[in-house]
């Protein structure tokens, strides 16, 4: 027992000394392992800090009160978790009881408790450019109970109901000296304050009575005094209030005391998310191991002679392993420590950035020691794994060969490539199976698992590929030939680097294909609602004043042509078209018009779902008093029965049969149901009204912004829509850039690692080359050749393996809906060739050029033997 | 130098007369150890007295030939299967010279060593040149000659190595407490 300990102590000491002696290599490993640890540490700390837990947030929600009681209109019974924000449900059915009032709350809770009411809501206010929205809160700012809900940052609290304080976001909108609400109320701004919970949205605070919130207010009561118990919370629940009680949050009831309705379990992660999480962890671990592995391999090689002598002197393979593993422990611990410290420091430094991007106010700097310990452990684990393979190789090495000075690794084993082939086949099979499931569900997980399995299989095949490349290198120029053969001879160092590059490229290619194909589907299936560049102005609320809107538009863009659209008023009526005995002609419809049936005597220009011939037929039928109807498929009829069903009041319906032109639409969707001639509407007794404005345009972007604001100024329910065709969402572009960037970084890392280590290893050979008369710049050529071999082989392999899950995932991702209603091709496939070629060809070449430019060009002259 | 056994082994092949024996000996040893006829006859007489050889009659030219007796054959066989003992090392003039040089004051031991080494090296070079010229004809006599030559080569090499070793030891002695004379000698070597 003691010998084992002393053996470890010796090994650790050797490892520490070795690490200090080879600083560059140790630094490489440190960075390799510390970075992921730091990254996860930053993420975890930021997340922990941003998520204000129950106790931290209490002051922000409760002030100094014992509980906050949220009153809901309608008096429905409430079911809640200890923290109502975690889970809340209502007993549906609206019994219509009166909502509780402030005094009712006090009566229910008993005792002589201080109470104060808080009202919150949304109001519109005037800004320099028009109208804006703000969240407002009415509360008794002097009451000690509310202390902690808002923070005064300048000026003073309002003294009366005609004064108000606003937050920085609102002040930025430049309201002026006073806040003018939409209903004309003028309030003097006497200071600025911030909500302690939320940022990023304009807010105003005032005393009770400042804002006229009316029925739309959210009412809450802050209750002081003795703690509010769970029983009291349940009692209030029954009366239609949700309660956040300090006492309950501090000491929550057990699960069985919770109402059944909310016992769905808290914080459950569904299986899909868990799978993804596990896969991500595995992939990151794999990447770290693959990248750090070569560094340990070289270390093992340097010690090979020592280890061989140990073996020759009677040491066991276990003792040899111990020395190499010890370096894994030493570097792993150092890296984990470094990463953790960096993580905490990085989170502290970056917190302001994150706060800016978030709309909740972060809590106090929250470090979760247990989480960070887990992440650090992960770092040590990956260091151990990365050292494990070289350790195993070191203990099995041919003692004789090493003592004889023969460098290079043993013959490749037969078994692992076979296993690799099996895994690869399995992975491909899983992907194919997942693809065959299509959109029926259950296909994503096999594909994801199959992708990881394929990558693992590919890793096992890399030695074979490298050996093959070496064999084929006879005809290549000297630096490439040397690099290829040397790479094959030192597989322990080459294979992990090539595998890391290949794994990265596989991921980038697979995700790239998936994202691109998804984009392609969105692009192809996009249906324009209006002709390109045209726009509509609509208002869905009653009493829309089209003249005001038209005036507003012309006010900011006098050159635009404005047309009126008329349609059937469907607030109290529903129109249906029938043909033959078909019940429903069009599955779905809807567009930027406020009506689903337009009224006109010719086909409005705003409609896009028809071609020229159909438009002509439509014009003809409308001018002769008929109707134009959109339908899912071809309809063999020349007349249609139009039905108008009235709702409310006396109900009833009217119908008429008219000549009709049917237009079949793609995708079972059209912007409107159809167009009827004015006579038809009259015959039906339908109410015809102005339903919006149509601007044929084309509307340029700058003008569009102005029109939008002007429209919003007329009435807040007015909306303005310009057809710009399919626009690639920002997220897609960002995702593709992130993929390319990440791929480039990882590939660069892997290639540089391999090249640096190879050059260090090859010093004797480079010295021989120099002795034989190689020019000093040959070192550059050899370095570049190493980089090219590793980068290109890895990239090509990775692209081939990554293409399989990439293509497979397009089936479930972009296939037609499984309920059979969706038409379209079985999948959309768009291979982002630019990305793929860039990653497979461009990046290796770039890396090669980089290495070639930065490698030292002096050959070692005299250090010929290690 | 055992002339007696050399002659016996020559007679092992066939009966020979005195002068012939001398010729054969010299040709097989490359003339390294010249032998005069008188020495041959004296040795033959002694061998006959010891009963190892006997007269074998005359050949056509009238030379008196000798041949081995039974005991003679046995003697030859024993000689070939018995290693040469190193019990009494021959007196080595060089070793004596060096031993005296180290202890006698006023002798430049360093130069002595270097001069001797140079001379031995020259001899070694000469032997090596002879070796190059000796072709690989495959004849047994040439092989024998080669072996003898090699013995000279190895001996010269051994001497040079011993001289290197002496030099190194004397240098080391210069850094330690030694009798004044040896220290002085060592100083001369290192200068």
């Amino acid at each position: 027992m003691s010998s084992r300990l002393s053996g470890w102590r010796l090994a650790l000491r050797l490892a520490a000394r070795d690490a200090l002696r080879h600083r560059a290599r140790s630094l490489l490993v440190l960075v390799m392992i510390a970075l992921p640890v730091a990254a996860v540490g930053v993420a975890d700390t930021v997340y922990g800090t941003s998520a204000t837990t129950g106790t931290e947030a209490l002051e922000r929600r409760l002030g100094t009160a014992a509980a906050r009681v949220d009153l809901f209109a309608g008096g429905n019974q409430v079911f809640q978790l200890p923290d109502p924000e975690d889970g809340l449900s209502f007993d549906g059915g609206g019994r219509g009881d009166q909502a509780l009032g402030v005094d009712d709350v006090g009566a229910l809770l008993g005792g002589d408790r201080p109470l104060t009411e808080v009202r919150e809501g949304t109001l519109r206010y005037e800004t320099a450019r028009g109208v804006g929205d703000a969240e407002v809160a009415e509360l008794d700012l002097d009451d000690p109970l509310t202390a902690g809900l808002a923070e005064l940052t300048s000026g003073r609290w309002p003294a009366g109901p005609d004064e108000v304080v606003v937050n920085a976001d609102l002040a930025d909108r430049d309201p002026g000296e006073s806040l003018v609400l939409a209903d004309g109320t003028r309030l003097t701004i006497v200071g600025t304050a911030e909500s302690t919970r939320y940022t990023g949205y304009p807010r105003a605070f005032g005393l009770p009575g400042t804002f006229d919130l009316g029925r739309r207010a959210q009412r809450a009561v802050l209750v002081g005094g003795p703690p509010v118990t769970w029983e009291q919370v349940r009692a209030l629940n029954e009366r239609g209030a949700a309660v956040a009680s300090r006492a309950v949050l501090a000491d929550p009831p057990t699960d069985d005391q919770l109402p059944e309705e909310v016992q769905w379990g808290t914080g459950g992660i569904d299986s899909a998310t868990l799978t993804v999480l596990v896969l991500v962890v595995v992939m990151v671990l794999l990447e770290v191991v693959l990248l750090a592995g070569p560094a340990f391999a070289v270390g093992a090689r340097r010690q090979a002679r020592t280890l061989a002598l140990v073996a020759a002197a009677g040491g066991t393979p276990a003792q040899a392993r111990r020395v190499v593993l010890a370096s894994g422990v030493v570097l792993g611990l150092a890296a984990a420590l470094l990463g953790t410290v960096l993580g905490i420091a990085g989170a502290a430094a970056l917190m302001p950035l994150f706060q800016l991007a978030s709309d909740t106010r972060f809590g106090p700097f929250d470090v979760a020691p247990l989480h960070l310990l887990g992440v650090a452990g992960f770092g040590v684990l990956s260091a151990l794994l990365a050292a494990g393979v070289p350790a195993w190789v070191a203990s099995r090495q041919d003692v004789v060969a090493v003592l004889a000075g023969r460098r290079g690794d043993a013959r490749p084993s037969r078994r692992s490539p076979l296993l690799g082939l099996v895994l690869l086949g399995g992975g491909v099979g899983a992907s194919a199976y997942g693809a065959s499931r299509g959109t029926a569900g259950g296909g994503e997980v096999p594909i994801a698992v199959g992708a990881v399995v394929s990558v693992l299989g590919m890793i096992l095949l890399v030695p074979v590929v490298v050996a093959l490349v070496a064999r084929l290198s006879r005809r290549l120029p000297l630096p490439l030939r040397f690099a290829a053969r040397d790479a094959a001879r030192h597989r322990t160092r080459t294979v992990p680097a090539v595998a890391a590059v290949a794994a990265t490229v596989a991921g980038v290619v697979a995700l790239g294909i998936a994202v691109s194909s998804d984009e392609a589907q969105n692009r192809e299936t996009y249906r324009a609602s209006l002709p390109m560049g045209a726009a509509t102005v609509t208002d869905y609320r009653a009493g829309a004043d089209q003249d005001a809107y038209a005036a507003a538009v012309l006010g900011v863009a006098p050159d635009l042509r404005v047309e009126r659209l008329r349609g059937i008023d469907e607030r109290r009526a529903v129109v249906r078209f029938r043909a033959g005995d078909q019940a429903r002609l069009l599955t779905s419809y809807g567009g930027p018009f406020a009506a689903t049936v337009l009224v006109a005597d010719e086909v409005p220009d705003a409609l896009v779902d028809l071609d020229a011939e159909q438009r002509r037929a439509g014009d003809a039928v409308l001018s002769s008093g008929g109707v134009l109807v959109f339908a899912d498929g071809e309809v063999e009829a020349s007349t249609s029965r139009v039905v108008l069903r009235r709702s409310g009041g006396d109900g009833g319906q009217s119908a008429t049969t008219t000549p009709a032109v049917f237009v079949a639409v793609e995708g079972e969707y059209a912007t409107v149901q159809g167009v009827v001639a004015p006579e038809v509407a009259q015959r039906l007794g339908a109410t015809v009204a102005d339903t919006g404005l149509y601007l044929p345009g084309p509307v340029p972007a700058a003008t569009a912004a102005d029109v939008s604001e002007a429209v919003g100024a007329v009435r807040d329910s007015g909306s303005f829509y310009v057809e710009r065709g399919y626009e690639v969402p920002d997220e897609t572009v960002v995702v593709q850039l992130v993929l390319a960037g990440l791929g480039a970084v990882l590939m660069l890392g892997g290639t540089l690692t391999a090249t640096f280590l190879a050059l260090t290893d090859a010093r004797p050979d480079l010295a021989t080359l120099s002795a034989v008369g190689a020019a000093p710049r040959t070192r550059r050529g050899v370095a570049a050749a190493y980089a090219l071999v590793v980068g290109l082989v890895g990239a090509v392999l990775g692209a081939l393996v990554g293409a399989v899950p990439g293509v497979a995932i397009t089936y479930p991702l972009t296939g037609p809906l499984s309920d059979g209603t969706g038409g379209g091709p079985s999948h959309y496939l768009d291979v982002p060739w630019l990305l793929v070629l860039g990653v497979v060809v461009g990046l290796p070449l770039l890396t090669t050029a980089l290495v070639g430019l930065t490698a030292r060009s002096r050959l070692p002259l005299t250090a010929r033997v290690d | 130098m055992s002339v007696k056994h050399a002659l016996l082994s020559l007679l092992e092949q066939e009966p020979m007369y005195g002068y012939q024996l001398r010729q054969e000996f010299e040709s097989r040893t490359g003339g390294t150890w010249p032998l005069n006829v008188g020495q041959v006859y004296t040795t033959l007489t002694r061998l006959e007295r010891d009963g190892l050889v006997e007269a074998a009659g005359e050949d056509e030219d009238g030379h008196e030939r000798w041949r081995l007796t039974e005991s003679g054959h046995e003697e030859v066989a024993t000689w070939f299967t018995t290693p040469v003992a190193r019990t009494q090392p021959p007196r080595d003039e060089l070793a004596i010279k060096l031993a005296l040089a180290v202890t006698v004051p006023g002798v430049d031991v360093g130069t002595l060593i270097q001069r001797q080494r140079s001379a031995s090296m020259t001899a070694l070079q000469d032997y090596t040149r002879l070796k190059r010229q000796a072709g690989a004809s495959g004849e047994a006599s040439d092989l024998a000659w080669g072996l003898v030559l090699d013995s000279l080569v190895f001996a010269a090499e051994a001497e040079i190595r011993w001289l290197d070793h002496c030099e190194a030891r004397l240098r080391r002695a210069a850094t330690q407490e030694v009798p004044a004379t040896a220290a002085a000698a060592a100083e001369q070597v290192t200068r």
């Binding site: 021989t768 002795a771 002259l861 010929r864 | 090296m121 090596t128």
Partner: protein, 239 residues
Amino acid sequence: MSAVLRLVDVHRVHGEGEAAVRALRGVSFTAHAGELVAVMGPSGSGKSTLLTISGGLDQPTEGRVEVEGVDVVGLSQQQRARMRRTSIGYVFQGFNLVPALTAVENVALPRELDGVRSGQARRDAMRALEEVGIPELADRFPDDMSGGQQQRVAIARAVVGERRLILADEPTGALDTETGEEILRLLRARCDAGAAGVLVTHEARHAAWADRVVFLRDGVVVDESGSAPVEDLLQASHP
């Protein structure tokens, strides 16, 4: 007979001040075409430094080094590399060959580095391999050859392309007697054919193959044996 290699009063000092190590202290040395010169000395005597300076791998602190009449000291790194590709051949004790290349590729190395097309370079290399008697090992890797075979390949590489100066640093150190002798026989034959050879060794038997044996002690030439330096014969008054 011209001097292929000439060192005139060469000094080489490593480091400075207290820790300075003077590897060579005023060494003058010549090797002529057709001549094999051996350099003997204990470790630390400067014999390896003598060789590296002769080959342009190291620069002397003082003194002149001429190879085929060209002053090597003033040349740039590129030019010295060029000399090693075309005029000077090196043989070391061990780790001579690049393990990643086959025997013929190793031998062809200097030619390929000089820009000769690989087909032609390979032909030159095969010729050299035949000269040293091992053409059948052309496509073997160094790992699959014995020490003696590796050294023969190294010699082939040192002589490929008709090089005039061969520098050998303890080439027989790791070999047994018989194999070592074969290596020396090759070197000797090469010198007889017109090259100049400098052989560093600590084995007297092997040094004996040389025409001249130079003894180095502490960076100084203390003696020479064998036939007198040719210069002395021709130019008795030359210092």
